[in-house]
């Protein structure tokens, strides 16, 4: 029994899969590692969304906005002002933190669909500012020649090296998120999810906690944005539209909301799925949509919840 428990430890499974994944595919091409790097970046984003929606119950249809801010701060500071990638990334995270603290208080006072609307609107504002402020952001044509990531002069230009770095950061984010969820603050967040008025009656400062988690998840989104910009080398407003926010929501529900591990599965599944359904060409969109409808109707707990159920049943 003990061995089985060790073998089904999610951390172990994840670390092993991350280690061997690039070598499973025969050609070991940069393309395959590229897809896997995207998996990691979207995992970070979706875990943030899970902390916000799954644990605190605050809906966001604009999670890509801080992904955009992180990516653009990194791109602008490294290409225009010659800052090091690490410094640019840190500046993006600080800016995102301050900005989300400022807008968090009024916006998070909204509930349900109103909150969904406001976050969607914020995403649209960010995008139209990026397109509008052409001198700074390159407008609709984006910014190119963003340097690869480097730490104190050590470049992560090689795709395999960057792959391990990004997944290391992702695993750190998972550990951090689970620590948050299991802390007293995490339980306060769940209380807010369950019943905000009730939580307030027990002396929980709801505004403070909601703003706090909003700042944390947006700093994470900004981090993901910087990792994205330094990997892909070219960013344009299209990468951060409401459509991206929406696909993050899809990943969250596909994997299983409120589980932290679910988003890992959901993000990887949705990023790898097009590589398989790609062969369907024009059928791709229809097939993706139908798979989602199917999962939502028949597996409401998401892929992670279903997997867990199956392993539990196997254990008897």
């Amino acid at each position: 029994m003990n061995i089985r428990r060790i073998l089904t430890n999610p951390y172990l499974i994840l670390c092993l899969s991350v280690l061997i994944a690039p070598f499973v595919f025969a050609d070991k091409s940069a393309y395959v590692t590229g897809v896997l790097i995207f998996c990691a970046i979207y995992t970070i984003l979706t875990i943030g969304l899970d902390l916000l929606m799954g644990y605190t119950g605050q809906i966001s249809v604009g999670h890509a906005s801080f992904f955009a801010i992180g990516a653009y701060v990194s791109a602008i500071l490294t290409t225009r002002y010659g800052l090091s990638p690490l410094g640019a990334m840190a500046s993006g995270m600080v800016l995102s933190g301050i900005l989300s603290w400022a807008i968090g208080r009024p916006v998070l006072a909204l509930k349900e669909y109103y909150l969904a609307m406001a976050t969607l609107a914020f995403n649209e504002i960010v995008i139209s500012l990026i397109i509008g402020l052409e001198g700074l952001t390159g407008g609709a044509s984006g910014i190119r020649d963003i340097p690869p990531f480097a730490i104190f002069g050590v470049s992560f230009k090689h795709h395999l090296l960057y792959y391990y770095l990004v997944w290391l950061i992702t695993i750190f984010v998972i550990v951090l998120s689970r620590a948050i969820v299991n802390s007293p603050a995490g339980r306060a967040l769940s209380a807010i999810h369950g019943d905000e008025i009730g939580a307030r009656a027990f002396g929980i400062d709801c505004t403070k906690y909601k703003t706090g988690i909003f700042v944390i998840v947006n700093v994470l989104a900004s981090l993901a944005g910087s990792l994205y910009a330094h990997f892909i080398g070219f960013i344009a407003p299209d990468d951060f539209q409401v459509g991206t926010s929406v696909s993050l929501l899809v990943m969250l529900y596909l994997g299983g909301i409120g589980t932290i591990w679910g988003p890992v599965i959901g993000a990887c599944f949705l990023k790898i799925l097009p590589e398989i359904t790609y062969h369907f060409q024009d059928y791709e969109l229809l097939v993706n949509g139908l798979i989602l409808v199917f999962v939502l109707i028949f597996l409401p707990e998401g892929l992670y919840g279903t997997l867990k159920k199956i392993t539990k049943r196997a254990e008897g």
């Binding site: 109103y114 504002i125 097939v287 989602l292």
Partner: protein, 289 residues
């Protein structure tokens, strides 16, 4: 053109896009009240309405018949979606409902891609009349048709919800589904009717604007987002509020594009939305209770 004629031009272009936003916002409100969900796939009915009509017209079917056939197929499609999918989702968390309607919209968009490919379609104007000239502004006939159809749809909706028994039953379901079902109203069937209305209005908005804009399988996204804004300005539940919100949005947009900046018009409109949401979440036109 004088300055004044520019203002007239902006006003009418605002009314035209406002009509479309109003129609979509109203269809969203009807579906929202019946199923307690904001349907992110409403924009697809707009696309299907326009594209089905374009295909039928290209086959040489007369305009009115094409209009009605396209309307009918969108109504059937909306009813089908409600019957197959939405029925299973009563009282689920909001996030899940949002993702579900997004999934439906992806599937519908994929379906449209299969049928019509990536090309854009445009329909000939409904009436071959020379554009009207009004104090120096040029106004195509379709503009008046759009406004006329919008007024007609709103009138039909008012008659339906205020004067018919089914309309009354649907309003009862919107107020309190449990109590309504205790009174012998079939809540599922009322939700089905609401979806059919939603499909019909969505298709109409797509069809009337088809001669002015190019439509392709992804065209539904922007009108849907604008419909949401109009709906939120109106406070989510009011049909008249949503319609007014649509016109207000269209006019605001037209005048910011014309007078302030076309680059930042979206940013301005969305900022207004956030301000409205924060300070008056029940909508600009809500009566105090």
């Amino acid at each position: 053109m004088s300055d004044f004629s520019y203002l007239v031009q902006f006003f009418f272009s605002g009314l035209t896009s406002g009509s479309i936003y109003a129609l979509i916002a109203v269809s969203l409100v009807i579906v929202y009240r019946a199923s307690q969900l904001i349907c992110f796939s409403q924009g697809e009915f707009y696309v299907f309405g326009a594209l089905i009509m374009a295909s039928l017209l290209m086959k040489g079917i007369p305009l009115l018949a094409a209009f009605l056939l396209s309307l009918l197929s969108s109504v059937i499609m909306a009813g089908f979606i409600q019957y197959i999918v939405i029925r299973r989702l009563l009282k689920k968390p909001i996030g899940m409902l949002i993702v579900m309607t997004i999934a439906i919209s992806l599937a519908l968009r994929g379906f449209a891609l299969l049928i019509w490919g990536r090309e854009s379609y445009v329909v000939r104007p409904f009436f071959q009349v020379a554009p009207l000239s009004f104090v120096g502004a040029t106004l195509p006939s379709q503009v008046f048709l759009i406004m006329g159809v919008t007024a007609l749809v709103l009138l039909c909706l008012w008659l339906f919800f205020e004067k018919t028994l089914i309309g009354l039953a649907m309003r009862a379901c919107a107020e309190n589904p449990d109590a309504a079902s205790l009174m012998g109203i079939n809540v599922h069937r009322m939700s089905l009717f609401a979806w059919m209305w939603g499909g019909a209005i969505g298709a109409i908005s797509g069809m009337v604007v088809a001669p002015l804009l190019f439509t392709q399988y992804t065209s539904g996204i922007m009108p849907m987002v604008k419909g949401f804004i109009a709906m939120s300005i109106g406070g989510l539940t009011g049909i008249s509020g949503a319609a007014l919100g649509g016109f207000l949005l269209g006019l605001t947009e037209a005048f910011t594009i014309g007078l302030v900046s076309s680059r930042f018009s979206d940013a301005i409109v969305f900022t207004i939305l956030i301000i409205v949401l924060i300070f008056k979440p029940s909508g600009l036109f809500a009566r105090s209770q």
